[in-house]
Symmetry: C2
Subunit: 326 residues, 2 copies
DNA sequence: ATGAAAGCGCTAACAA
DNA sequence: TTGTTAGCGCTTTCAT
C-alpha cells in the first residue's frame, strides 16, 4: 500500500507537505501551486489511497456506527437498515449491520464486539424493556439511540413509529367498516412495541365504546398467531375484525382465515401492523398499518449523529404511520 | 477510554507485561501467576476494552470485510447478507453492508470508500458483465469474490446458484404438467445472471423438443414484466406456461395474470426464479425455484477468507437450487 | 519474569 | 512555503 511517505520520498518533500496537499489544506499552509500539482500527480500515479484506518486511529474516531437488528428477514428491519445506511453514507460514516436475533446473550456479545471496534455510536433495539446490556452501555458513555422501542426508566433517545396512533388507525378502520366484535393478536409485553400497540388498541376500542372481543398474547410469530386465530374463529361468537400486531402474526392470521374458508371481507376482516409489499396478490385481502421504515432508519442516524456531537436529542422521535386500506 | 498503559501504571508494571497477559501469551512469556491475576483484575475493574482499531492499524489488517449488495429490499440479497454476516462473525470479522443499487457510478464510489477503510476483502456483484470497477480492483490486488454472477473474461472467484440448473427445474416442472407453449420473461443479458437463466431455459426447452412460445427481455422489475405478460396473454395463441427469471418479474407476471382473470392453473401456470416466503397466501398459485441464499452468503465469505489467506479458490462455486412446486 | 523501544500511517503544533 | 516532531494504542523484538 502506498503511503504519504512514499509520495514524499519520491518528490523529495516532507510527509507533512504531502499531507497538507492531500487533505486540501494547502490554501491554509500556502503550499506553492506547483508543489500541489506535483503531489497530486504523484498520488495519482502511485495509486495512493488514504488510510481511513490510520486516520481513525489517530483521531480516536472511526466514522463508523453500528446498527444491531433483530432479524434482517423482516422488511421492517431491512427498511430501517436501508434508511440508516443511506443517511450514514451521506454523512461519511459506514454502517456495520449486526444481528442480535432478539437474544439477550447475543446482544451482549455484539455490543461488546462493537465497542472494541470503537464504533462511534450504535443504533439498537432493546431486547426487552429491562435490557441490562443497554443500561451498562449507557454507563460506559457510548452514544446510542434506541429504535422501535425503549427500555424502561432510562432517559435514552428512541426513534420509532407512533405505535399508539397505528393501533388507533387499525381500530378506526374496522369500526368504520361496521365491525363491533374486534380482537387483537399481540406479541409479549416485555417488548415495549407490543405493550404500546396493545394499549393503543384498548384505548381506541374504549373511545368507540367497544369491548375487545379477544386479546391473544402470543410469541410474535406466524405459527402461534395462526393457532390463536384458529381458536378465535372456532368460538360460537367469533370476532368479525382481527387486528394483528406485526407482520408475522398477520401472516399467521391470514393462514388461519384461509383455512377456515370464511367469506372475506363479509364475515371477517383483518388489519395488520407492518405493510406487506405484495398484499395485492393475496387471496385474503388485508389492510395494513404502514410504517415509514426508511425514515425511522434515517432519523435514528440523525439522532445518533447529534448525540455523538454532544447535542441534545429528543427523548422520543415519533414517526407517523399510515393506513393502507384494502 | 482505558488503555493498557493505564493498567500498567496502576500496577506499576510495563505496558508490555499487561499486553502479554491480556493477549493470553503469559504462558509463553512466563509471567507469574500473581501478576496475571492482578492484571486481569485491574482490567476488569477499570472496564478495559481492547482497541480493535489500534490493533487493526498495527497489524495492517482490519478484520472487516464488505458486502456490496444491489438492493436489500430483495429477499435474495437479504438472505445473502444474513449468511455472510453469520459466517463472518463466526470467524471474527465484521461485515460492512453497502448499497450499490446496481449503479456503476455508485459502485465505484463504494469500492473506493471501502478500500480507504482498509477492509480486508469484499464480496460484490458485478453491475454488468463488463464491470470496469472490479477489473480495476483486481489490479490493485484487494481480495474479493463475486456473488450471483461474474464479469466476463477475468478469472475471479464467483459463488452463485446454478442458474442453468434452476432454469431446467422450471422448464421440467412445466413440461411435467403438460405444458408445451412456454414463454420466458427475463432480465437484460448485460447481467450474467439473466444470460445464464435464459440459456438454461433454451437448453431445457430444446431438450424436450420444444420451441419457446415467447422470449420477453425486459428490465428486471415488476412493471415491465407485468406489461410483457399482459402482451403475451393477449396473443391469439397464448402460452400456457410462463417462466419468470426473478422475484420482481414474478410479481409483475402474477399481477398480469390476476388482471386477465384466467382459470389457474388450468389455463396458465407460472414458475418463477427466487422463492416467495408467502406464496401460499397468493390468490394465483406460483411454483418457485428456491435458492439457498444463506449458503451463498456463507460460501462467499468462506471463499473470500481463503482468498485473503492466499489460498486457491475455485473459479466457481455453484449452489444447487430446488423447486418448490405449488 | 519483566521491560524498553520501535513502528504501523496519519495529522497538528510548532519551527524555520 | 516547507519541515521536524510527537503521539494516537497496540504488539513484537530484543534486552535484562
Amino acid at each position: 500500500m502506498v503511503r504519504m511517505k512514499d509520495i514524499a520520498e519520491k518528490l523529495a518533500l516532507s510527509q507533512t507537505t504531502v499531507s497538507h496537499v492531500l487533505t486540501g489544506k494547502h490554501e491554509h499552509y500556502r503550499i506553492s501551486p506547483s508543489t500541489v500539482e506535483r503531489v497530486r500527480r504523484a498520488a495519482e500515479e502511485l495509486g495512493y489511497r488514504s488510510s481511513a484506518l490510520a486516520r481513525a486511529f489517530r483521531d480516536r474516531k472511526s466514522y463508523s456506527v453500528a446498527l444491531a437488528v433483530e432479524d434482517l428477514t423482516n422488511p421492517f428491519w431491512t427498511g430501517v437498515a436501508i434508511g440508516a445506511e443511506k443517511e450514514a453514507e451521506a454523512q461519511g460514516y459506514v454502517l456495520i449491520v449486526s444481528n442480535t436475533n432478539g437474544d439477550a446473550e447475543r446482544e451482549r456479545r455484539t455490543v461488546q464486539m462493537l465497542q472494541e471496534r470503537r464504533v462511534d455510536g450504535m443504533i439498537v433495539s432493546p431486547v426487552t424493556v429491562a435490557d441490562q446490556t443497554l443500561l451498562d452501555l449507557r454507563k460506559e458513555g457510548l452514544p446510542f439511540v434506541q429504535i422501535d422501542r425503549s427500555i424502561k426508566g432510562a432517559d435514552i433517545p428512541c426513534v420509532r413509529t407512533d405505535h399508539l396512533a397505528g393501533s388507533a388507525l387499525a381500530v378506526e378502520h374496522l369500526v368504520r367498516r361496521g365491525h363491533k366484535e374486534i380482537a387483537i393478536v399481540c406479541g409479549p409485553p416485555e417488548i415495549q412495541t407490543f405493550q404500546i400497540r396493545l394499549e393503543g388498541f384498548r384505548k381506541a376500542m374504549a373511545k368507540h365504546g367497544l369491548k375487545p372481543a379477544g386479546v391473544e398474547v402470543v410469541r410474535a410469530l406466524a405459527e402461534p398467531a395462526q393457532e390463536a386465530v384458529r381458536g378465535l374463529l372456532e368460538r360460537r361468537a367469533r370476532p368479525t375484525g382481527i387486528y394483528t400486531a406485526n407482520i408475522w402474526m398477520t401472516f399467521g392470521a391470514l393462514r388461519a382465515v384461509r383455512d377456515a374458508k370464511l367469506a372475506i371481507p363479509r364475515e371477517l376482516e383483518i388489519v395488520g401492523f407492518d405493510d406487506i409489499a405484495v398484499a395485492d396478490l393475496f387471496a385474503v385481502p388485508v389492510t395494513t398499518v404502514w410504517q415509514d421504515v426508511e425514515a425511522i432508519g434515517r432519523e435514528a442516524f440523525k439522532a445518533l449523529l447529534k448525540a455523538m456531537k454532544g447535542q441534545p436529542v429528543p427523548r422520543e422521535t415519533l414517526i407517523a404511520p399510515r393506513l393502507k386500506a384494502r
